[in-house]
């Protein structure tokens, strides 16, 4: 077990390294950050050169990269080009908001999707099933900014149940979470239904029924556990996406999470901040994947020991 963990840690470090290098490279492809910083100002070319030198952007690329790496290893990802504050600090101020939103949204999604999916699977072919799945499909085809704007129009402006946007307390969290939850809710419901149906068709279920086991036991003990595998995959993926920051939801509601923050930093070519945000996001992914792999092992013991 110790060897397994050590191997995973090593791989985690390697992943971090790969992510930050790729992002670093991509950022350089996107243009000159200094010229962008000074755009539309009375700066002349000498000013641009001086600032470039002061910020270290005039050094050859490999040197810049080594500089970045050596800093990163010590936990220093540089300072924002816009505010001068440490990039990691800036990002950490927003992470809490993202985590809150992701947790509530995923909880809402699962609380609705799993029962709906199970009921649909067990009643497959019936009108209930057809209706539920149709509703899910519709839920999945509505673009998220539509959903968000409609929620604001109905629940905030018309009914005044919730604030229209912003942050600062739990009442601000509901509409964004509901908006963010709709797509995963629909997707997971459909997936739960289809993977459960798949499993229910299989041999060992046939065998269990042939042995005369009660239907609920058949479904509960045998089917669900095996149906869970692809569902866990998608849930983890969705949650990871939410943690990476749900840009559109955050934009529509003005929710100060990491998604919009990162996109703004990308737009402004604030390199250190983008690095910090991506490193943080990949850290969360890696942790999440680790948990998911453990979960795989529990769900299907044959995978556990290779």
């Amino acid at each position: 077990m110790g060897r397994y963990i050590r191997r995973r840690l090593l791989l985690a470090v390697l992943t971090f390294w790969a992510v930050s290098t790729i992002v670093w490279g991509l950022l350089y492809l996107t243009g000159d950050p200094v010229a962008i910083l000074l755009a539309g100002t009375p700066a002349g070319s000498t000013d641009v050169e001086q600032l470039r030198h002061a910020l270290g952007f005039d050094q050859p690329l490999p040197i810049q990269y080594l500089h970045f790496l050596s800093g990163a290893v010590q936990g220093d990802l540089g300072n924002s080009l816009r505010s001068g504050e440490p990039a990691l600090l800036l990002v950490s101020r927003r992470v809490g908001f993202t985590v809150q939103l992701a947790l509530l949204a995923m909880t809402l999604a699962l609380v609705v999707a799993i029962p709906v999916g199970i009921v649909s699977a067990m009643l497959r072919g019936s009108l209930t099933d057809r209706t539920l799945m149709l509703l899910s499909m519709v839920g999945q085809s509505m673009p998220i900014f539509w959903v968000g704007l409609l929620m604001i129009a109905v629940f905030a402006v018309e009914l005044r149940w919730f604030p229209a946007g912003g942050a600062g307390g739990i009442k601000y969290l509901f509409l964004p979470a509901a908006t963010l939850a709709l797509y995963p809710m629909a997707r997971i419901a459909r997936l739960v239904r289809s993977s459960l149906v798949d499993v229910l068709n299989q041999d060992y279920i046939l065998a269990a029924r042939a042995r005369g086991l009660r239907e609920s036991l058949v479904v509960g003990k045998h089917a669900l556990k095996n149906a869970a595998l692809p569902v866990v995959t998608i849930v983890a993926l969705q949650f990871g996406y939410m943690l990476g920051g749900a840009v559109i939801t955050e934009t529509i509601f003005g929710w100060p999470g990491i998604g919009l923050f990162t996109v703004t930093a990308i737009h402004e070519r604030d390199f250190p901040v983008v690095q910090a945000a991506v490193v943080l996001a990949s850290g969360m992914f890696i942790a999440l994947n680790f948990l998911v792999d453990l979960l795989y092992g529990w769900l299907d013991p044959r995978i556990r020991f290779s």
């Binding site: 998220i144 997707r187 068709n201 044959r302």
Partner: protein, 298 residues
């Protein structure tokens, strides 16, 4: 023992199907088929079907409501947008790019993802680890950054959108394929084949892949919804399909302020087009999956 040898009726009873799904299902499938046929037709011959060129502006005739409302104009059945362009024509022309971009991205990401996932799941070991780390790396990179970087290198074009969507989507197939392969690999019949000395690729293609296909098709149909919506999100951020090409996603993102303020038709009709496309594809994919289900082959 295998289900193939058991009679279909018995299978149906044992698998607990309560009603023959073909009766109500058929109707929906037919509608979906027709709808999709119309959409594909729009994609194939838009110029013939559309009453006006999609980019023809008449800024004095902007924001006309659909023809059945007051102030509506019979020359513009579904109304006009903020530049006076005919909405019906734009919706018809939009079909092509949405379908092309959607399907290309889907196919590319599907093929890449399933292949990678199969390899990872079958061979395990260090290959598995590296591939899954690659997936993690890829997921951690914001698609916005990828989109901007690609644009910076190639310049804005519609190819970017396909690339970004494809690169964004392979992971789900890879993880799925890997997960299923991991499970299947350990099953007795696979072990048996391996013991008998059957070649790896044969095993993968003949025995693992078919079992995978059903799940992949379901996920793919689910993903299509996501891809079309993602295209709209890219447009929202200014990184999507470029004018003069018309896309539904662009129309949605562009007109979203009108959702709250008056000219609702600018957003509603492209939105309905997207919903109709996704719904019909999903219904058909479900039907296809039922048809392909090996359990019921005699």
């Amino acid at each position: 023992m295998s289900a193939e040898s058991v009679q279909p009726a018995l299978v149906r009873e044992l698998t607990g199907r309560r009603s023959s799904r073909f009766r109500s299902g058929d109707f929906l499938v037919v509608i979906a088929f027709l709808l999709l046929a119309v959409i594909v037709l729009c994609a194939l011959i838009p110029a013939t079907l559309a009453p006006h060129p999609p980019n023809q502006q008449e800024i004095t005739k902007r924001l006309l409501p659909p023809s059945w409302m007051e102030r509506g104009n019979s020359a513009h059945l579904l109304g006009t947008d903020q530049l006076g362009r005919d909405l019906l024509s734009r919706v018809i022309h939009g079909a092509r790019i949405s379908l092309i971009v959607g399907f290309s991205a889907l196919v590319i990401s599907g093929i890449i993802g399933v292949t990678i996932g199969l390899l990872a799941g079958y061979y395990r070991g260090w290959l598995d680890d590296w591939i899954m780390r690659l997936a993690d790396v890829q997921l951690a990179i914001p698609y916005v950054l990828l989109a901007i970087a690609i644009i910076a290198v190639i310049g804005p074009s519609n190819l970017n959108v396909v690339l970004v969507l494809a690169v964004n989507g392979w992971v789900v197939y890879a993880r799925l394929a890997r997960g299923q392969t991991l499970s299947l690999r350990e099953r007795e019949f696979i072990q048996a084949y391996r013991a008998l000395g059957a070649r790896d690729w044969r095993i993968v293609v003949q025995h693992i892949l078919p079992n995978l296909l059903s799940a992949v098709i379901v996920v793919a149909s689910l993903e299509l919804a996501g891809i079309i919506t993602l295209e709209s999100s890219l447009s929202f951020l200014g990184l999507g399909i470029q004018p003069p090409t018309v896309s539904w996603g662009y129309m949605l993102a562009d007109g979203r302020t009108y959702l709250l303020g008056g000219a609702w038709w600018v957003v509603t009709f492209p939105g309905l087009a997207i919903t109709a496309t996704i719904l019909s594809i999903n219904v058909l994919a479900d039907w296809l999956r039922d048809v392909l289900d090996p359990r019921l082959k005699i």
